[in-house]
């Protein structure tokens, strides 16, 4: 038994492996230029297919042949990269191959396009649940509406808090505000349209800034409270009976106020809950925890974005329109009820299969 087995491996080694290896090395060493010449054709083809597929959505239009060809080319490029050391490919080519394979890999494993149903689930299921359960949203809402109402009260009571609104807003801004609300809304629609566009841009900007600064926590709270105080003081000042254009101001803000103010508070809450990821790590590394909390804050900021859009439409079409005040007030009350329903009824923690 033993004698028949022993010589074989040696002979095999001698006859097959050694010459093969030498031929392989010859091929690898001497013909880099030739190898490159051969492989380059396929690499270029893969590159072209990549740029074809990279235009988003084009993949469906690519033919089946092209796609299977793409997979084959990708595999062979991977093999080339793996054999780069054996082939003695020059470093520049290895870099090129790395980029090519990465590019093709990205086309093979592209991210799932978000569907409409998924957004529906985010907006009508995940967002209210997250908003109801998130303490950061509560903190932001309390801060915003608390300071807003305090500033409004202080701005309104000109005898109890003399000069509060004037100091808060500055004389120039008060003058400007009074001037811009001087005309009655009925009959001067043109004036109010451009103004509402300005306020859409301005207030949505405040909300987004609150969200962005949320990652640093303190600047978020600062921006939020500062703007709450400014808004509250101007509301209070304009509500005084003797202020110029106060009536028009109140009529203008009634319809879109609930949506817009809530949206600002919500986006600050989303920002805060994003920033709390630095501290509430739940066992993850800080970076991973931040990424997780960012993913968690996306439903909240999406809800805020929807509210901003609703507020913008209200502000653009209803608020400056010459419709009677009852309609605007009715819409304001209706939108508040809608928000209540959204936050409380949809948001109330539920058990069940997907319960939090």
């Amino acid at each position: 038994m033993q004698w028949s087995l022993r010589p074989w491996p040696l002979r095999l080694l001698f006859h097959q492996r050694v010459p093969d290896e030498r031929r392989f090395l010859e091929r690898c060493f001497m013909n880099v230029a030739k190898i490159l010449e051969q492989r380059r054709v396929q690499w270029f083809e893969l590159e072209q297919l990549c740029s074809l597929l990279e235009v988003r959505g084009r993949i469906r239009r690519g033919s089946a042949d092209q796609i299977s060809r793409f997979a084959a080319l990708y595999r062979s490029a991977c093999a080339d990269l793996a054999l780069a050391t054996a082939y003695q490919l020059p470093p520049a080519t290895v870099t090129y191959l790395h980029q090519l394979v990465a590019r093709a890999h990205n086309q093979l494993y592209r991210s799932r396009q978000s569907s409409l149903a998924r957004w529906g689930e985010i907006l009508f299921y995940e967002a209210p649940q997250a908003i109801f359960a998130d303490p950061c949203v509560r903190v932001a809402t309390l801060c915003f509406f608390g300071i807003f109402s305090l500033a409004m009260f202080a701005g309104y009571q000109e005898f109890a808090f003399p000069g509060f609104a004037e100091k808060m807003l500055g004389a120039a801004q008060i003058e400007q505000m009074e001037a811009s609300f001087e005309q009655p809304i009925q009959g001067s629609m043109s004036h109010y349209i451009s103004m509402s566009a300005f306020y859409i841009q301005h207030n949505t900007g405040i909300g987004l800034r609150c969200f962005a600064f949320g990652i640093l926590l303190v600047p978020c709270l600062l921006t939020l409270c500062f703007n709450a105080a400014i808004l509250g003081a101007s509301f209070g000042y304009m509500a005084r009976p003797e202020s110029v254009g106060g009536e028009n101001f109140l009529e203008f803000v009634t319809a879109h106020g609930p949506f817009e103010l809530t949206a600002i508070a919500l986006s600050a809450g989303a920002g805060l809950s994003l920033g709390m990821g630095w501290f509430r790590t739940a066992g993850l590394s800080r970076l991973d925890s931040l990424r997780t909390s960012a993913r968690r804050s996306i439903p909240i900021i999406s809800a805020a974005a929807v509210l901003f859009v609703l507020a913008a439409f209200t502000e653009g079409f209803l608020s400056p329109s010459p419709l009677p005040y009852v309609v605007k007030a009715g819409w304001g009350i209706f939108s508040s009820g809608l928000l209540m329903f959204y936050f409380v009824v949809l948001g109330f923690p539920r058990g069940g299969p997907r319960g939090t």
Binding site: P90, Q99, S114
Partner: protein, 322 residues
């Protein structure tokens, strides 16, 4: 899936590259982009944003002016244009980058010009959500803003202008391993250098002395894989070095080889390595050139009596070899 720096043996190059391992167990490398590559991209984007915004606004007003006289509801046209400008400003300032990064797989025009791309930390192209997050959070990265009012408190216009100092983002980039700013950290993205393009990696032989010298390398001399790699790297970087530096770099390898081959010791080290490179990588692929008069010269030390054509400072006019 994310394998950063699989080189656990501690030989990881001290470089701004990051390695991603795919399910096929292929590791490919990305080169990260630092602040000095990203700043130009940001500035170009800013210029494009401002420029196109101004252009569109002018266009809107021109069209409104042309329509203005005889359009119905002429009185409302002006306010609508003003409103449009505000809304446009809002979208340009917040969603310009989001749009481009989401639809052109991580590149804005500025990034495209500079050659950058945003990808996920696992190497995937970024999704719309990631693009939204990282661009909304840019405001925090550009903080703290420097108010111009500090320079001249009297000028009322200065009250409204802020210069973003981007200190937060810079500190975040310095502190993170993947050179991420805060927005990148939250969205799980990174900015990589994305220069594509094929360049023929084999150096051109433009000096007739190279094949001439290569023909004197002993036929039984075998180049080890590591030496072949070193030769390829040398040939790749050679064009970027001055002649003096080339000689200095090449001498370490060329001198022992020249001794081994029995060459004269005043042979140009750069020429020596180039001819070895030619011998290893090109000799088979390129038809042997006509050496002409050079064929008569020998670089060997024993033939030193023959006039030295191979010696370092000789100026043989370089002629095309192929």
């Amino acid at each position: 899936m994310v394998g950063n720096d699989t080189a656990a043996d501690g030989r990881k190059p001290l470089d701004t590259t990051i390695e991603v391992v795919t399910p096929e167990n292929i590791a490919f490398r990305y080169q990260l982009a630092g602040p000095f590559r990203r700043l130009p991209a940001f500035l170009i984007d800013w210029l494009i944003r401002v420029g196109s915004f101004v252009l569109i606004v002018i266009l809107m007003f021109v069209i409104a002016g042309l329509l203005g006289a005889n359009a119905p509801l002429a009185g409302l046209l002006g306010p609508f244009v003003t409103a449009g400008v505000f809304i446009l400003y809002f979208f340009f300032s917040w969603f310009y980058c989001v749009f481009f990064e989401a639809y052109f797989s991580g590149r804005t025009p500025g990034k495209w010009i500079v050659g950058l791309r945003v990808i996920g930390v696992d190497g995937h192209p970024i999704s719309g959500q990631q693009a939204l997050l990282r661009n909304l959070l840019r405001t925090a990265d550009l903080a703290p803003p420097l108010s111009l009012a500090g320079f001249s408190p009297e000028e009322p216009a200065y009250q409204f202008f802020f210069i973003p100092t981007a200190m937060v983002g810079l500190v975040a980039i310095v502190c993170s391993r993947r050179l991420q700013r805060l927005g990148d950290m939250a969205a799980g993205t990174m900015v990589v250098i994305d220069e594509r393009g094929w360049q023929w990696p084999i150096g051109k032989v433009d000096d007739l002395r190279i094949p001439a010298l290569a023909s004197y390398v002993p036929a039984d001399f075998r180049v080890s894989p590591s030496m072949a790699k070193a030769l390829a790297a040398y040939a790749e970087r050679r064009p970027y070095l001055s002649p003096g530096r080339r000689r200095e770099v090449a001498r370490c390898l060329a001198q022992p080889l020249a001794e081994r081959f029995g060459f004269r010791d005043d042979i140009d080290p750069d020429l020596m390595l180039s001819s070895l490179y030619y011998r290893v990588f090109l000799a088979d692929a390129v038809p042997p050139p006509d050496l002409g008069a050079l064929a008569r010269f020998s670089p060997l030390a024993k033939d030193a009596v023959v006039p030295a054509a191979m010696a370092a400072p000789v100026a043989v006019p370089p002629t095309g070899a192929r």
